[in-house]
Protein backbone atom coordinates (compact mmCIF):
# COMPACT_ATOMS: atom_id res chain seq x y z
CA UNK A 1 0.00 0.00 0.00
CA UNK A 2 1.27 3.42 -0.72
CA UNK A 3 -0.68 6.13 1.02
CA UNK A 4 -0.17 8.03 4.22
CA UNK A 5 -1.52 5.23 6.32
CA UNK A 6 1.47 3.20 5.31
CA UNK A 7 4.01 5.92 5.71
CA UNK A 8 6.97 4.68 7.69
CA UNK A 9 9.37 6.67 9.81
CA UNK A 10 12.23 8.09 7.78
CA UNK A 11 14.73 5.99 9.68
CA UNK A 12 13.23 2.81 8.25
CA UNK A 13 15.13 1.69 5.16
CA UNK A 14 12.37 -0.26 3.42
CA UNK A 15 8.69 -0.87 4.13
CA UNK A 16 9.03 -4.65 3.91
CA UNK A 17 11.92 -4.58 6.38
CA UNK A 18 9.85 -2.37 8.63
CA UNK A 19 6.97 -4.86 8.36
CA UNK A 20 9.16 -7.79 9.31
CA UNK A 21 10.73 -5.93 12.22
CA UNK A 22 7.35 -4.85 13.48
CA UNK A 23 5.92 -8.35 13.17
CA UNK A 24 8.93 -9.84 14.94
CA UNK A 25 8.46 -7.44 17.83
CA UNK A 26 4.74 -8.19 18.00
CA UNK A 27 5.47 -11.91 18.09
CA UNK A 28 7.80 -11.21 21.00
CA UNK A 29 4.79 -9.79 22.88
CA UNK A 30 5.97 -6.20 22.52
CA UNK A 31 2.84 -4.20 23.38
CA UNK A 32 4.19 -0.98 21.88
CA UNK A 33 4.84 -2.73 18.58
CA UNK A 34 1.32 -4.14 18.55
CA UNK A 35 -0.12 -0.69 19.00
CA UNK A 36 2.25 0.69 16.35
CA UNK A 37 1.09 -1.94 13.91
CA UNK A 38 -2.51 -1.07 14.70
CA UNK A 39 -1.93 2.68 14.38
CA UNK A 40 -0.11 2.28 11.08
CA UNK A 41 -3.01 0.49 9.41
CA UNK A 42 -6.23 1.13 11.28
CA UNK A 43 -7.28 4.29 9.45
CA UNK A 44 -7.14 2.79 6.03
CA UNK A 45 -8.75 -0.47 7.12
CA UNK A 46 -11.54 1.37 8.93
CA UNK A 47 -12.21 3.62 5.96
CA UNK A 48 -12.51 0.63 3.67
CA UNK A 49 -14.74 -1.22 6.13
CA UNK A 50 -16.97 1.83 6.39
CA UNK A 51 -17.19 2.18 2.63
CA UNK A 52 -18.07 -1.51 2.33
CA UNK A 53 -20.49 -1.66 5.28
CA UNK A 54 -21.95 1.84 5.14
CA UNK A 55 -22.39 1.93 8.89
CA UNK A 56 -20.14 3.04 11.76
CA UNK A 57 -20.94 0.08 14.00
CA UNK A 58 -20.34 -2.41 11.24
CA UNK A 59 -17.12 -0.68 10.26
CA UNK A 60 -15.87 -0.83 13.84
CA UNK A 61 -16.86 -4.49 14.18
CA UNK A 62 -15.15 -5.44 10.92
CA UNK A 63 -12.03 -3.47 11.80
CA UNK A 64 -11.76 -5.02 15.24
CA UNK A 65 -12.28 -8.51 13.83
CA UNK A 66 -9.60 -7.87 11.23
CA UNK A 67 -6.99 -6.95 13.81
CA UNK A 68 -8.00 -9.73 16.20
CA UNK A 69 -7.54 -12.27 13.40
CA UNK A 70 -4.33 -10.61 12.27
CA UNK A 71 -2.75 -10.80 15.72
CA UNK A 72 -3.89 -14.41 16.09
CA UNK A 73 -2.16 -15.49 12.93
CA UNK A 74 0.70 -13.03 12.79
CA UNK A 75 3.23 -15.85 12.85
CA UNK A 76 1.95 -16.86 9.43
CA UNK A 77 2.95 -13.54 7.89
CA UNK A 78 5.90 -14.43 5.66
CA UNK A 79 6.62 -11.04 4.16
CA UNK A 80 5.87 -12.22 0.61
CA UNK A 81 3.45 -9.31 0.32
CA UNK A 82 3.39 -6.13 2.37
CA UNK A 83 1.82 -6.22 5.78
CA UNK A 84 -0.83 -3.81 4.50
CA UNK A 85 -1.80 -6.18 1.70
CA UNK A 86 -1.87 -9.09 4.12
CA UNK A 87 -4.10 -7.13 6.50
CA UNK A 88 -6.39 -6.07 3.69
CA UNK A 89 -6.82 -9.68 2.60
CA UNK A 90 -8.14 -10.44 6.06
CA UNK A 91 -10.21 -7.26 6.16
CA UNK A 92 -11.97 -7.86 2.86
CA UNK A 93 -12.73 -11.42 3.87
CA UNK A 94 -14.13 -10.25 7.20
CA UNK A 95 -16.24 -7.58 5.52
CA UNK A 96 -17.71 -9.87 2.86
CA UNK A 97 -18.54 -12.57 5.39
CA UNK A 98 -19.94 -9.96 7.76
CA UNK A 99 -22.14 -8.43 5.09
CA UNK A 100 -23.53 -11.83 4.24
CA UNK A 101 -24.41 -12.42 7.88
CA UNK A 102 -26.07 -9.00 8.07
CA UNK A 103 -28.17 -9.78 5.03
CA UNK A 104 -29.18 -13.13 6.52
CA UNK A 105 -30.02 -11.51 9.84
CA UNK A 106 -32.17 -8.96 8.11
CA UNK A 107 -34.14 -11.82 6.63
CA UNK A 108 -33.39 -10.84 3.10
CA UNK A 109 -33.77 -13.80 0.86
CA UNK A 110 -32.39 -12.44 -2.35
CA UNK A 111 -28.86 -13.28 -3.35
CA UNK A 112 -26.34 -10.55 -3.88
CA UNK A 113 -26.69 -10.94 -7.63
CA UNK A 114 -30.42 -10.37 -7.34
CA UNK A 115 -30.00 -7.01 -5.69
CA UNK A 116 -29.84 -4.92 -8.88
CA UNK A 117 -33.55 -5.49 -9.45
CA UNK A 118 -34.30 -4.11 -5.99
CA UNK A 119 -32.05 -1.17 -6.66
CA UNK A 120 -33.87 -0.55 -9.90
CA UNK A 121 -37.07 -0.52 -7.88
CA UNK A 122 -35.59 2.04 -5.52
CA UNK A 123 -34.57 4.22 -8.45
CA UNK A 124 -38.18 4.83 -9.34
CA UNK A 125 -38.73 6.62 -6.07
CA UNK A 126 -35.47 8.45 -5.77
CA UNK A 127 -35.01 11.79 -7.40
CA UNK A 128 -31.45 12.43 -6.52
CA UNK A 129 -28.73 11.44 -8.93
CA UNK A 130 -26.14 10.90 -6.24
CA UNK A 131 -28.48 8.76 -4.20
CA UNK A 132 -29.16 6.72 -7.28
CA UNK A 133 -25.49 6.27 -7.91
CA UNK A 134 -24.93 5.16 -4.33
CA UNK A 135 -27.82 2.73 -4.58
CA UNK A 136 -26.34 1.41 -7.79
CA UNK A 137 -22.96 0.92 -6.07
CA UNK A 138 -24.72 -0.90 -3.23
CA UNK A 139 -26.36 -3.09 -5.82
CA UNK A 140 -23.15 -4.18 -7.52
CA UNK A 141 -22.39 -7.86 -7.15
CA UNK A 142 -20.05 -9.21 -4.50
CA UNK A 143 -17.31 -9.53 -7.08
CA UNK A 144 -17.59 -6.07 -8.56
CA UNK A 145 -18.35 -3.88 -5.56
CA UNK A 146 -15.13 -4.40 -3.56
CA UNK A 147 -13.03 -3.66 -6.64
CA UNK A 148 -14.99 -0.51 -7.46
CA UNK A 149 -14.98 0.73 -3.86
CA UNK A 150 -11.27 0.05 -3.41
CA UNK A 151 -10.23 1.63 -6.72
CA UNK A 152 -12.63 4.43 -7.50
CA UNK A 153 -13.71 5.35 -3.99
CA UNK A 154 -10.63 4.70 -1.86
CA UNK A 155 -7.93 5.01 -4.52
CA UNK A 156 -6.21 1.64 -4.23
CA UNK A 157 -4.11 0.48 -7.16
CA UNK A 158 -5.00 -2.63 -9.12
CA UNK A 159 -1.91 -4.31 -7.70
CA UNK A 160 -3.11 -3.61 -4.17
CA UNK A 161 -6.62 -4.81 -4.98
CA UNK A 162 -5.32 -7.94 -6.65
CA UNK A 163 -3.17 -8.70 -3.62
CA UNK A 164 -5.99 -8.08 -1.17
CA UNK A 165 -8.63 -10.05 -3.04
CA UNK A 166 -6.36 -12.84 -4.21
CA UNK A 167 -7.11 -12.27 -7.88
CA UNK A 168 -4.90 -11.49 -10.88
CA UNK A 169 -4.37 -7.80 -11.73
CA UNK A 170 -6.14 -8.37 -15.04
CA UNK A 171 -9.20 -9.67 -13.23
CA UNK A 172 -9.22 -6.58 -11.03
CA UNK A 173 -9.15 -4.36 -14.11
CA UNK A 174 -11.87 -6.36 -15.80
CA UNK A 175 -14.11 -6.19 -12.74
CA UNK A 176 -13.62 -2.43 -12.47
CA UNK A 177 -14.53 -2.10 -16.13
CA UNK A 178 -17.68 -4.15 -15.58
CA UNK A 179 -18.62 -2.21 -12.46
CA UNK A 180 -18.24 1.14 -14.19
CA UNK A 181 -20.25 -0.10 -17.13
CA UNK A 182 -23.12 -1.14 -14.86
CA UNK A 183 -23.02 2.18 -13.03
CA UNK A 184 -22.93 4.13 -16.28
CA UNK A 185 -26.04 2.30 -17.40
CA UNK A 186 -27.75 3.03 -14.10
CA UNK A 187 -26.78 6.69 -14.30
CA UNK A 188 -27.53 7.15 -17.96
CA UNK A 189 -31.03 5.81 -17.51
CA UNK A 190 -31.74 8.58 -15.06
CA UNK A 191 -29.29 11.36 -15.77
CA UNK A 192 -30.79 12.32 -19.11
CA UNK A 193 -33.99 13.51 -17.44
CA UNK A 194 -32.20 14.87 -14.43
CA UNK A 195 -29.58 16.94 -16.20
CA UNK A 196 -31.51 18.04 -19.25
Amino acid sequence: MTDAADAQPNSQPHPRLFDRQLVARCLAQDALAERALYDAHVDRIYRLMYRMGGDADLAADFTQETFIRAFERLEQFRGDSSLATWLHTIAVSVALNGMRKVKRTQGRTETIDDVPSLAAEAFRFTGDLKARLHAAIDALSEKLRPVFVMHDVEGYTHEEIAGSLGIPVGTSKARLFDARAKLRIALAAFAGDHIA
Partner: protein, 266 residues
Protein backbone atom coordinates in the same frame (compact mmCIF):
# COMPACT_ATOMS: atom_id res chain seq x y z
CA UNK B 1 -25.65 13.30 -21.85
CA UNK B 2 -22.34 12.08 -23.20
CA UNK B 3 -20.02 9.44 -21.72
CA UNK B 4 -17.54 12.01 -20.39
CA UNK B 5 -20.27 13.75 -18.43
CA UNK B 6 -21.48 10.44 -17.03
CA UNK B 7 -17.92 9.51 -16.04
CA UNK B 8 -17.53 12.87 -14.35
CA UNK B 9 -20.74 12.35 -12.39
CA UNK B 10 -19.61 8.84 -11.54
CA UNK B 11 -16.27 10.05 -10.17
CA UNK B 12 -17.91 12.84 -8.15
CA UNK B 13 -20.61 10.60 -6.75
CA UNK B 14 -18.20 7.80 -5.89
CA UNK B 15 -16.00 10.01 -3.75
CA UNK B 16 -18.63 10.55 -1.07
CA UNK B 17 -20.07 7.05 -1.19
CA UNK B 18 -20.42 5.89 2.44
CA UNK B 19 -18.15 8.69 3.60
CA UNK B 20 -16.60 7.64 6.94
CA UNK B 21 -16.82 9.87 9.98
CA UNK B 22 -14.26 10.12 12.80
CA UNK B 23 -12.36 6.91 13.44
CA UNK B 24 -12.84 5.49 16.97
CA UNK B 25 -9.27 4.24 17.21
CA UNK B 26 -8.97 3.96 20.98
CA UNK B 27 -12.38 2.37 21.49
CA UNK B 28 -11.64 -0.25 18.87
CA UNK B 29 -8.19 -0.90 20.31
CA UNK B 30 -9.65 -1.41 23.78
CA UNK B 31 -12.13 -3.94 22.41
CA UNK B 32 -9.42 -5.72 20.43
CA UNK B 33 -7.28 -6.05 23.53
CA UNK B 34 -10.22 -7.25 25.62
CA UNK B 35 -11.12 -9.83 23.01
CA UNK B 36 -7.55 -11.07 22.76
CA UNK B 37 -7.26 -11.45 26.51
CA UNK B 38 -10.51 -13.40 26.63
CA UNK B 39 -9.73 -15.70 23.71
CA UNK B 40 -9.23 -19.34 24.66
CA UNK B 41 -6.02 -21.02 23.62
CA UNK B 42 -6.86 -23.67 21.04
CA UNK B 43 -4.38 -26.52 21.01
CA UNK B 44 -2.94 -27.39 17.64
CA UNK B 45 -3.68 -30.94 16.63
CA UNK B 46 -0.99 -32.78 14.81
CA UNK B 47 -1.14 -36.20 13.20
CA UNK B 48 -4.29 -37.88 14.36
CA UNK B 49 -4.15 -40.76 11.95
CA UNK B 50 -5.09 -43.39 14.51
CA UNK B 51 -8.33 -41.62 15.37
CA UNK B 52 -9.21 -40.67 11.84
CA UNK B 53 -12.82 -41.60 11.13
CA UNK B 54 -13.18 -44.13 8.40
CA UNK B 55 -16.36 -42.64 6.93
CA UNK B 56 -14.56 -39.48 5.85
CA UNK B 57 -12.78 -41.30 3.09
CA UNK B 58 -16.01 -42.41 1.52
CA UNK B 59 -16.24 -38.94 -0.01
CA UNK B 60 -12.81 -39.42 -1.54
CA UNK B 61 -14.03 -42.72 -2.88
CA UNK B 62 -16.97 -41.01 -4.52
CA UNK B 63 -14.65 -38.44 -6.04
CA UNK B 64 -12.41 -41.24 -7.25
CA UNK B 65 -15.40 -42.89 -8.88
CA UNK B 66 -16.12 -39.60 -10.64
CA UNK B 67 -12.56 -39.55 -11.92
CA UNK B 68 -12.98 -43.08 -13.17
CA UNK B 69 -16.13 -42.04 -15.03
CA UNK B 70 -14.30 -39.00 -16.37
CA UNK B 71 -11.41 -41.15 -17.45
CA UNK B 72 -13.61 -43.58 -19.33
CA UNK B 73 -15.39 -40.70 -21.05
CA UNK B 74 -12.16 -39.02 -21.94
CA UNK B 75 -10.72 -42.29 -23.19
CA UNK B 76 -13.70 -42.84 -25.46
CA UNK B 77 -13.51 -39.34 -26.85
CA UNK B 78 -9.80 -39.64 -27.44
CA UNK B 79 -10.28 -42.91 -29.26
CA UNK B 80 -12.97 -41.38 -31.46
CA UNK B 81 -11.52 -37.97 -32.09
CA UNK B 82 -7.77 -37.94 -31.72
CA UNK B 83 -5.38 -38.69 -34.54
CA UNK B 84 -2.58 -41.14 -33.80
CA UNK B 85 -0.10 -38.32 -33.34
CA UNK B 86 -1.84 -37.28 -30.14
CA UNK B 87 -1.61 -39.87 -27.41
CA UNK B 88 -4.69 -40.41 -25.27
CA UNK B 89 -4.74 -39.39 -21.66
CA UNK B 90 -3.66 -42.31 -19.53
CA UNK B 91 -6.46 -43.52 -17.33
CA UNK B 92 -6.08 -46.11 -14.61
CA UNK B 93 -9.35 -47.54 -13.34
CA UNK B 94 -9.86 -46.84 -9.67
CA UNK B 95 -12.21 -48.85 -7.54
CA UNK B 96 -13.56 -47.08 -4.49
CA UNK B 97 -13.48 -49.41 -1.52
CA UNK B 98 -16.37 -49.59 0.91
CA UNK B 99 -15.28 -47.57 3.92
CA UNK B 100 -18.21 -47.38 6.28
CA UNK B 101 -17.28 -50.36 8.40
CA UNK B 102 -15.92 -48.86 11.60
CA UNK B 103 -15.07 -52.11 13.38
CA UNK B 104 -11.59 -51.96 14.86
CA UNK B 105 -10.57 -55.16 13.11
CA UNK B 106 -11.06 -53.53 9.72
CA UNK B 107 -9.52 -50.17 10.58
CA UNK B 108 -6.01 -51.03 9.47
CA UNK B 109 -7.27 -52.47 6.20
CA UNK B 110 -9.40 -49.41 5.57
CA UNK B 111 -6.55 -47.03 6.27
CA UNK B 112 -4.44 -49.01 3.83
CA UNK B 113 -7.24 -48.80 1.26
CA UNK B 114 -7.52 -45.07 1.80
CA UNK B 115 -3.79 -44.57 1.35
CA UNK B 116 -3.90 -46.76 -1.73
CA UNK B 117 -6.81 -44.71 -3.10
CA UNK B 118 -5.00 -41.44 -2.57
CA UNK B 119 -1.92 -43.00 -4.14
CA UNK B 120 -3.87 -43.92 -7.25
CA UNK B 121 -5.43 -40.48 -7.46
CA UNK B 122 -1.97 -38.97 -7.22
CA UNK B 123 -0.85 -41.30 -9.97
CA UNK B 124 -3.64 -39.87 -12.13
CA UNK B 125 -2.49 -36.39 -11.24
CA UNK B 126 1.06 -37.21 -12.26
CA UNK B 127 -0.17 -38.69 -15.55
CA UNK B 128 -2.10 -35.50 -16.23
CA UNK B 129 0.90 -33.38 -15.33
CA UNK B 130 3.15 -35.42 -17.62
CA UNK B 131 0.66 -35.19 -20.48
CA UNK B 132 0.32 -31.41 -20.04
CA UNK B 133 4.11 -31.08 -20.13
CA UNK B 134 4.31 -33.18 -23.31
CA UNK B 135 1.69 -31.02 -24.97
CA UNK B 136 3.48 -27.84 -23.92
CA UNK B 137 6.74 -29.16 -25.37
CA UNK B 138 5.00 -30.21 -28.58
CA UNK B 139 3.42 -26.79 -28.92
CA UNK B 140 6.78 -25.09 -28.44
CA UNK B 141 8.08 -26.98 -31.45
CA UNK B 142 5.20 -26.05 -33.74
CA UNK B 143 3.48 -22.85 -34.73
CA UNK B 144 -0.23 -22.34 -34.26
CA UNK B 145 -2.54 -24.65 -32.37
CA UNK B 146 -3.87 -27.51 -34.49
CA UNK B 147 -7.33 -28.79 -33.72
CA UNK B 148 -6.08 -32.08 -32.33
CA UNK B 149 -3.76 -30.29 -29.92
CA UNK B 150 -6.64 -28.15 -28.71
CA UNK B 151 -8.73 -31.24 -28.15
CA UNK B 152 -5.87 -32.94 -26.35
CA UNK B 153 -5.46 -29.90 -24.10
CA UNK B 154 -9.15 -29.83 -23.43
CA UNK B 155 -9.11 -33.46 -22.36
CA UNK B 156 -6.09 -32.97 -20.15
CA UNK B 157 -7.79 -30.02 -18.47
CA UNK B 158 -10.94 -32.05 -17.86
CA UNK B 159 -8.87 -34.82 -16.30
CA UNK B 160 -7.12 -32.21 -14.16
CA UNK B 161 -10.42 -30.69 -13.03
CA UNK B 162 -11.71 -34.09 -11.95
CA UNK B 163 -8.53 -34.68 -9.95
CA UNK B 164 -8.79 -31.23 -8.40
CA UNK B 165 -12.35 -31.85 -7.31
CA UNK B 166 -11.30 -35.13 -5.69
CA UNK B 167 -8.48 -33.41 -3.80
CA UNK B 168 -10.64 -30.49 -2.66
CA UNK B 169 -13.29 -32.94 -1.47
CA UNK B 170 -10.67 -34.95 0.43
CA UNK B 171 -9.18 -31.77 1.87
CA UNK B 172 -12.48 -30.35 3.10
CA UNK B 173 -13.37 -33.62 4.77
CA UNK B 174 -9.97 -33.99 6.40
CA UNK B 175 -9.79 -30.33 7.40
CA UNK B 176 -13.12 -30.45 9.18
CA UNK B 177 -11.59 -33.14 11.36
CA UNK B 178 -8.34 -31.23 11.76
CA UNK B 179 -6.44 -34.08 10.16
CA UNK B 180 -3.86 -33.61 7.46
CA UNK B 181 -1.21 -35.94 6.22
CA UNK B 182 1.80 -35.84 3.96
CA UNK B 183 0.02 -37.50 1.04
CA UNK B 184 -2.61 -34.78 0.89
CA UNK B 185 0.10 -32.10 1.07
CA UNK B 186 2.04 -33.66 -1.79
CA UNK B 187 -1.08 -34.22 -3.83
CA UNK B 188 -2.18 -30.59 -3.51
CA UNK B 189 1.29 -29.36 -4.54
CA UNK B 190 1.25 -31.62 -7.59
CA UNK B 191 -2.16 -30.30 -8.61
CA UNK B 192 -1.00 -26.71 -8.14
CA UNK B 193 1.95 -27.39 -10.41
CA UNK B 194 -0.35 -28.80 -13.11
CA UNK B 195 -2.81 -25.92 -12.69
CA UNK B 196 -0.09 -23.36 -13.29
CA UNK B 197 1.25 -25.25 -16.27
CA UNK B 198 -2.21 -25.29 -17.81
CA UNK B 199 -2.74 -21.60 -17.01
CA UNK B 200 0.12 -20.73 -19.31
CA UNK B 201 -0.97 -23.13 -22.04
CA UNK B 202 -3.32 -23.08 -25.01
CA UNK B 203 -5.98 -24.46 -22.68
CA UNK B 204 -6.73 -20.89 -21.60
CA UNK B 205 -7.91 -19.91 -25.05
CA UNK B 206 -11.32 -20.78 -23.68
CA UNK B 207 -12.16 -17.83 -21.38
CA UNK B 208 -14.39 -19.94 -19.14
CA UNK B 209 -11.66 -22.48 -18.66
CA UNK B 210 -9.15 -19.70 -18.05
CA UNK B 211 -11.27 -18.27 -15.23
CA UNK B 212 -11.82 -21.70 -13.73
CA UNK B 213 -8.08 -22.41 -13.75
CA UNK B 214 -7.41 -19.03 -12.09
CA UNK B 215 -9.96 -19.81 -9.40
CA UNK B 216 -8.44 -23.25 -8.92
CA UNK B 217 -4.98 -21.70 -8.66
CA UNK B 218 -6.11 -19.53 -5.78
CA UNK B 219 -7.96 -22.26 -3.93
CA UNK B 220 -5.25 -24.89 -4.33
CA UNK B 221 -2.58 -22.34 -3.33
CA UNK B 222 -4.47 -21.70 -0.12
CA UNK B 223 -4.82 -25.43 0.48
CA UNK B 224 -1.09 -25.95 -0.11
CA UNK B 225 -0.33 -23.22 2.42
CA UNK B 226 -2.73 -24.72 4.91
CA UNK B 227 -1.54 -28.32 4.70
CA UNK B 228 2.12 -27.33 4.50
CA UNK B 229 2.03 -25.25 7.67
CA UNK B 230 -0.25 -27.77 9.38
CA UNK B 231 -1.63 -25.34 11.94
CA UNK B 232 -5.26 -26.41 11.56
CA UNK B 233 -6.27 -22.78 12.04
CA UNK B 234 -10.02 -22.43 11.71
CA UNK B 235 -9.76 -18.87 10.38
CA UNK B 236 -7.52 -20.02 7.54
CA UNK B 237 -9.98 -22.79 6.85
CA UNK B 238 -12.75 -20.19 6.71
CA UNK B 239 -10.78 -18.23 4.12
CA UNK B 240 -10.36 -21.34 1.99
CA UNK B 241 -14.03 -22.23 2.31
CA UNK B 242 -14.89 -18.67 1.40
CA UNK B 243 -12.76 -18.86 -1.73
CA UNK B 244 -14.35 -22.15 -2.73
CA UNK B 245 -17.84 -20.82 -2.10
CA UNK B 246 -17.61 -17.30 -3.47
CA UNK B 247 -15.89 -18.48 -6.62
CA UNK B 248 -18.30 -21.39 -6.97
CA UNK B 249 -15.37 -23.68 -7.62
CA UNK B 250 -17.08 -26.98 -6.85
CA UNK B 251 -20.19 -25.96 -8.77
CA UNK B 252 -18.10 -25.01 -11.78
CA UNK B 253 -16.08 -28.22 -11.58
CA UNK B 254 -19.27 -30.29 -11.44
CA UNK B 255 -20.81 -28.21 -14.19
CA UNK B 256 -17.82 -28.96 -16.36
CA UNK B 257 -18.17 -32.66 -15.53
CA UNK B 258 -21.86 -32.60 -16.49
CA UNK B 259 -21.13 -30.86 -19.76
CA UNK B 260 -18.40 -33.35 -20.47
CA UNK B 261 -20.63 -36.33 -19.80
CA UNK B 262 -23.49 -34.86 -21.85
CA UNK B 263 -21.18 -34.19 -24.75
CA UNK B 264 -19.94 -37.75 -24.59
CA UNK B 265 -23.41 -39.20 -24.27
CA UNK B 266 -22.74 -40.82 -20.90
Amino acid sequence: MNDDRIDELLAQGARDYNEPGPIPRDEMWARIQASRRAAPVVPVRHDARSSRPIWMWSSVGIAAALILAAGITIGRRVERATPTSVAPVAVTPIVAQPTRDSAPATRATTVANRDSLIGKLREQTNNTNRRARELANAQDRTTGAPAETNLAYHLVVLQHLAGSEAMITAFRTAARRGEMDAQLATWSRELLSTTRMLESSAATQDPTMKRLLEDLDLVISQIVQYVTHGTNNSEDLDLIEQSITTRGVITKLRGTASARNSAAGT
